[in-house]
Amino acid sequence: MNADKNGAVAAFTGLTVRYGKTIAVDGVSLAVQKGEVHALLGRNGSGKTSMIRCLLGQMKACGGSASLFDLDAWNGRVAAMRRLGVVPESPDMPPALTAAEIVTFCSRLYPSWDGKGVTARLERFGVPTKVPFGRLSRGQKNQLALALALAPLPDLLVLDDPTLGLDAVARKEFFEELVGDLADRGTTVFITTHDLQGIEGIASRVGILKAGHLLLDEEMEALKSRFRAVRWTGPALVPSDLASLAALSPLRVRRDTWGAEVVVSAFEESAFARLVHDLSPAQADASPLSLEELFIALCGEEGGTP
């Protein structure tokens, strides 16, 4: 697998996308390293799909660039696509063609093609091969798209919210298949999704977009270790207490009758111990955040900057 000088198989450099006067993506720089599962999270309209479309060479950026395997994504699209598997946000195959016809068409476009793998996956998913694509269920369409994306044995898999609209079972099957392929081949994955629970277990790196800006982009482990929910019961927080919290970089403070909950983005055990000592709460604890909680803390209505 080729990668650029920094080992990135896909990269965005100052990418900017505008639709008329609306800025969808504003100078985002981000790199997907070889072998990692890079999840790009963000609310609807945050610019994820625009970034994916630029990466796939389907849309020309207004500023900056996107690259694949050290090739400009716009100019080198055809060459890059030979090593890429794509599952779009909304499966977009010709509705009149059957899965078998679509597979046949695609198989002749790639230098390598795992025909047996496709057949096995479609059988495993239970996708009928003689039914026109337009008459497949949403889940079957996504499964066919995943089977097609994995068939050319890609170096990079780009998944644009692939589980959108799928039921819980279908989502589970989708991610299981993905995990299986990751285990077998160690394929690099760049995924955007709203299924935070599903991706939490497999993503090695997370980027979060908010209104076209990249809020953060870091390893999942590091992210989960520095973000915590600090809760305590006892007297209500006063402004001087908040000053004591500053060392932990509080993102969001929620007060209640029992006490308060503060999401912090720079958690450290020693700083937390000092805080407990200074404030003397009746009870205090710092619990890890799920990816979903972390996302809500960052991108919710009261979200802040990490």
Binding site: L56, Q58, V86, P88, R108, L109
Partner: protein, 654 residues
């Protein structure tokens, strides 16, 4: 397999339902032909119906496929399927379009099949020069056979490309629609300017050049725009619209502007653009001539007429009278010329009389007098001897105007013969009397009913038939005194006879001689003698008759040449122009000066003939025996004014 081939095969698979549908559609002409077979033959009705069905259905299918083959996927967000594969945009566009084109053509053939199989139309496809579908169009225009399917196929491709472009524009709803709207108005207007200009110029070649250029530009423009939209716009519809519009309008704008430039260049002609001078008619007096010639680099049938001053080089392109300078008539004093111009119109609107004032040194401008002429073709006008009146025909009405006031003096219908549309010959006897030689549909010379001789009294506004020339008179010449004329008749044994007649009554004064099967031509000289020429198989003969019709002299000229009798110059010699028929050898054309007194035929070296209509009645306008100089083309086609007294040829510069 290449990406193109894969997309092509995929698209064919997607459109496979079209073929059985086309087969079913192809059965529809069968019952229709059965119903129509009472009026037409069954086979003929079936073949024509099948062809019409296939053609119309195929072109409609082309429009539908053009609008959907790429654009539907694009607007419904399915284009990403192709662009997330290792497939170039060009392969995608070409594969999809080629497949859709193949589907259209295949569907046409399938649709054509049932009707032509039953009706026997397929038998006509095997190399017959004019197949059944060209019957009404004319085999000359559509032969050879392959032009029909080629044109139909290209039309289908154009329709597809057009429908694709329109579909992109309306589906994207981007602000670029504003540019589209502007260009849809501006470019046709610019294209129309060029078309109108060449149509007004009445040159079919230029018109066809423009039509072919426009069609080719549209095809190239729409195809290129679609390709660029797919390659550069990819799955982005709005960006695609931008690239499509910019490409399309840029190509079409360049093409239309180039066509405008070409049309301007081709029609803004000067005498220098003449390839050769075909005819020159000098004014009876003064330096002005009207000359007609074919134009260089403008294809066949590109002709132009100019009023030109041979002394100063000033010239004026003569209105819309491109075909034959005879439509320009000079006044006897050479100070005015009139012509009939036909403004461009899709309707058969009448022509308009224009006059040119030739008295000043500047370029004469056409003066319009709101006088409409029913038809510019064959328009003939005549001036009174003192140039103070003008008479002409429009429809079957003789109209006389006073000059220079352009006041209508008289208008007289000549009769109710509905077929009378062609030119009657007119001549003023004096300021108040006009003689009319009125023939049938093609003027007096080809009338089978003979020629009526009428006189119109302008002052009293009375029309009187004074005589009649019976049988077919092919040539009528009136002498300078208007008292006698000679006519050339074709007799029942198809031989020609020359007869001297009374110009007022048509009574034959003397049958001059039998002339065999070659029609003679000739002219009165100033003293009333008649000089007649006739082409023979091995030699041409020149005969001089006295004013009473007695043969005075016979001369022979070697070779089977047409001898045209021209003006009588001062001193009594007569200009002859000699043409070799069916040869383009320059040396076969020459100008000679005939001396009636001695029979000498002096060659005027370096001069070429160009007055092909000398045989007409224009001859009666010449001042016989008073001509001192005349304009001829030289060996190189340049005009020279030849002075008969000094023998000097002076170039005419424009």
């Amino acid at each position: 397999m290449s990406g193109f081939a894969q997309v092509f095969m995929l698209e064919l698979r997607l459109r496979k339902a079209v073929f059985p549908a086309a087969l079913v559609a192809g059965l529809v002409p069968l019952p229709m032909a059965m119903i129509m077979s009472r009026s037409f033959g069954f086979s003929e009705a079936l073949n024509a119906g099948a062809f019409a069905f296939a053609l119309i259905g195929g072109e409609l299918l082309a429009l539908y496929l053009g609008a959907t083959v790429l654009c539907q996927d694009l607007s419904e967000g399915r284009q990403g399927f192709y662009f997330s594969r290792p497939l170039s945009g060009l392969a995608l566009w070409a594969g999809k379009f080629a497949a859709a084109w193949a589907v259209v053509l295949g569907a046409m053939l399938v649709c054509l099949l049932p009707g032509t199989l039953v009706g026997g139309g397929l038998a006509n496809l095997g190399g017959v020069h004019n197949p059944f579908w060209t019957y009404d169009v004319g085999p000359q225009t559509l032969s050879p056979l392959w032009t029909v399917p080629v044109l139909v196929s290209l039309a289908a491709l154009l329709f597809m490309a057009f429908a694709h472009a329109v579909s992109v524009m309306f589906r994207s709803r981007s602000p670029w629609l504003a540019l589209d709207a502007v260009m849809v108005v501006v470019l046709p207007a610019l294209a129309w300017w060029a078309l109108r200009r060449v149509m007004t110029f009445q040159t079919p070649f230029l018109f066809m050049v423009l039509l072919v250029a426009y069609a080719a530009s549209l095809l190239v423009g729409f195809l290129a725009a679609g390709a660029v939209q797919t390659v550069a716009g990819r799955a982005d519809l709005r960006r695609g619209h931008r690239t499509l519009s910019l490409t399309l309008w840029a190509i079409l704008a360049v093409a239309v502007l180039a066509a405008d430039g070409y049309a301007y260049w081709a029609t803004a002609v000067s005498p220098k653009d003449l390839h050769s001078v075909a005819a020159i008619a000098p004014a009876p007096a003064g330096p002005w001539i009207v000359m007609v010639g074919d134009l260089k680099h403008r294809g066949t049938y590109a002709w132009a007429s100019f009023l030109a001053n041979t002394q100063t080089g000033v010239y004026q392109s003569v209105g819309e009278s491109r075909w034959g300078g005879g439509e320009v008539t000079f006044s006897p004093d050479g100070k005015m010329a009139v012509a009939c111009e036909t403004p461009f119109s899709f309707h058969s609107e009448p022509g308009e009389l224009v006059s040119y004032d030739l008295t000043g040194p500047e370029k004469p401008q056409p003066a319009r007098h709101a006088i409409s002429i029913s038809s510019a073709w064959g328009f003939r006008a005549t001036f009174s001897p003192d140039s103070s009146r003008l008479a002409f025909f429009s429809d079957d009405t003789l109209t006389v105007y006073d000059l220079p006031s352009w006041k209508l003096v008289a208008a007289q219908r000549l009769g109710s013969t509905p077929s009378f549309r062609g030119p009657a010959w007119l001549m003023f006897l004096d300021r108040d009397h006009v003689r009319i030689l009125k023939g049938g549909t093609d003027g007096p010379k080809a009338s089978s009913d003979g020629t009526s001789i009428l006189e119109f009294n302008v002052a009293q506004k009375t029309l009187q038939e004074t005589g009649h020339v019976s049988t077919q008179a092919y040539l009528l010449q009136v002498d300078s005194t208007r008292t006698r004329m000679f006519a050339v008749f074709q007799q029942e044994n198809r031989s020609y006879q020359l007869a001297l007649c009374d110009a007022r009554t048509g009574v034959v004064l003397k049958a001059v001689t039998e002339w065999g099967s070659r029609r003679p031509a000739g002219s009165f000289l100033g003293d009333g003698r008649i000089l007649v020429s006739q082409r023979g198989d091995a030699q041409s003969v020149l005969r001089l008759y006295s004013s009473e019709g007695e043969l005075q002299r016979t001369c022979t000229l070697t070779g089977s040449r047409i001898v045209v009798v021209g003006p009588e110059v001062r001193g009594g010699k007569v200009v002859l122009e000699l043409w070799e028929r069916r040869t383009k050898l320059v040396d076969a054309k020459e100008v000679r000066l005939f001396d009636p007194a001695t029979g000498d035929l002096q060659v005027l070296p370096g001069l070429r003939p160009s007055h092909y209509w000398w045989q007409g009645t224009e001859a009666e306008q010449w001042s016989h025996g008073g001509v001192t100089s005349w304009v001829f083309p030289d060996d190189k086609g340049k005009l020279v004014r030849y002075d008969f007294e000094t023998g000097k040829a002076t170039p005419v510069k424009f």
